[in-house]
Assembly symmetry: C2
Homo-oligomer: 325 residues x 2
């Protein structure tokens, strides 16, 4: 973070025409944006939502309520402007990029061994990184689409943080009952097959992640280099980012968690990362939807901090009544 920009934000905030602290979290977010953009006041003219899509070998094991073909169908829907994230980008004022990563080549079934080779994971990381380092925006929202990727996210969370498979396994697109127990067994099998040698965060990403999760990690890392604050979406996005944090603590200090997903493992994951979600609206769609909605809150925070008059400018009394008397 940039200490000078942070100090400038801290110096301006108490001069603005409101009781100290009365904008709550908006004040913290404005300061955080300045620190990570390295300029004061922070600007949020351009917000980019990057949605990454990938297919998963484990989809063939029946872990999702939808067939794997839906990944490509939804990518077409993003490109045609028909998905939720398209409407949200328009409502909030964000541009959308959609990156489909080798959809016709699913990752390997991770219950049998690593999901990706080193070449594959590096290619996906780079694909993500490029989406943010090329003409960097003022802020980045990351999201994903990939049938079976809550299974991947659960396996990553279990590998990184331990616990029981059921703690991290949720309904995703709508799996329940015996199918949910089966999904948890797939998660457990994946972790058993891949973590005997206690791999580090990036190895966990390679072995249990997917191309879209690796691209998210690449985008998050690229954003750090390019001084772009990041809004993480839901469970899958946060699990992908958690691999960076596991590899190097502090790697997600330039990120906020957009919302508390209804996917049950998300709350625990956010807590493990020491974060606190901005919104809590029971969303669990992915595709960056929660991140884009939260970017609207960031825009509001930046607008208040930069645009409000100071007590001196507005001629408003900033002294307590008792001190005046």
């Amino acid at each position: 973070p940039d200490a000078e920009a942070a100090a400038a934000a801290a110096a301006r905030e108490p001069q603005l025409t409101k009781p100290p602290g009365s904008l709550g979290r908006l004040e913290d977010l404005a300061a955080w944006l300045a620190a990570w953009q390295g300029r004061h006041p922070a600007r949020l003219d351009s917000v980019r939502a990057c949605v990454f899509a990938g297919n998963h070998g484990v989809a063939a094991l029946g872990v999702s309520a939808f067939p794997a073909s839906v990944t490509a169908q939804m990518v077409a829907n993003f490109k045609a402007g028909g998905a939720a994230v398209n409407q949200l980008c328009r409502a909030v004022g964000a541009e959308l990029t959609v990156t489909a990563l080798d959809l016709d080549r699913p990752t390997a079934d991770f219950t049998k061994g690593p999901a990706m080779t080193e070449d594959e994971v590096v290619a996906a990381l780079n694909a993500g990184l490029e989406q943010v380092t090329t003409a960097p925006p003022d802020a980045l929202c990351v999201g994903e689409m990939g049938i079976a990727n809550t299974t991947s996210a659960a396996a990553i969370a279990l590998a990184l943080f331990g616990g029981s498979p059921m703690e991290w396994t949720g309904p995703g697109t709508g799996v329940k009952g015996e199918a949910l127990s089966h999904k948890a067994r797939v998660v457990a099998d994946g972790v058993t097959a891949n973590t005997a040698d206690a791999p580090d965060g990036l190895e966990v990403l390679r072995r249990l992640g997917g191309r879209e999760l690796a691209a998210i990690a690449g985008a998050v890392a690229g954003a750090r280099l390019a001084r772009v604050p990041v809004v993480l979406d839901g469970y899958i996005t946060t699990a992908a980012a958690a691999c960076l944090e596991a590899a190097r603590p502090g790697s997600l200090d330039h990120c906020v968690v957009a919302h508390a997903s209804a996917e049950p493992g998300h709350g625990r994951l956010v807590e493990k990362l020491g974060k606190r979600a901005i919104l809590d609206l029971g969303m669990r769609l992915g595709e960056g939807s929660g991140a884009v909605l939260a970017a609207g809150v960031l825009k509001a925070a930046a607008a208040c901090h930069a645009g409000m008059a100071t007590f001196a400018e507005a001629g408003v009394a900033d002294k307590p009544a008792a001190e005046e008397a």
Copy 2:
């Protein structure tokens, strides 16, 4: 509510390209908007934020951290575009109207008797009503400015819902310690002086409210007539609206609570009304700030519901994988 519009919303929602329920509260809000606008899909092209300002006799008793002169100074700040609500309206895309109600004539000190005469409360109710029934917007955000009006809100809440004065009395602009205990005594004295005859909701508003609180109640009632869904801001706004609910249960069914204010009595008040806040960002500024921010969420909800492609339109499989196999 309009049953036909509600039914149309309920019929469209499961056709949209997402797992059922995955947009969480956004789905509920889109349906609620349609029902109360009486049209499907709901439109949110025009959002109006109405901020009402008034002065309070009890301000002279030292219940606020700021002098009463700040009310007029902040009205000037709203008009000049320097306040938080101005930046938020710009960020979210809402128009702002500011109505100052006889600022040079504070209400009477309600520890001695009613704050307003019948003529005064009716004039204020009408001033609020006119702001929404003249060229009604697609949605209304209501907010307020008035030094000492958390004292008024606390007195209303105590009169309507009982409990102890301290349960409803909070720091407002920043009162603490002995000054906070004093504020709670003023609240208690106001209720003692005005509720011996168990007045109904509108009488509580007249006796313990203020002009800006009455104008809020008028705007909320006017919005119901004009089929305009309402976003209530924080503690004072919700207390003013609660007088309508007390007078006639169901009067706030066309309203949502924008955010969970940091003012401690707000959570209890929202619970008494059977509502659930949309945002929880530790805000406690008033002036409609939370309502306008939440209107951004409503816009997003309406945009998703109206703009998303259906499974049929997008050629996306809507069948569970198991049913396909």
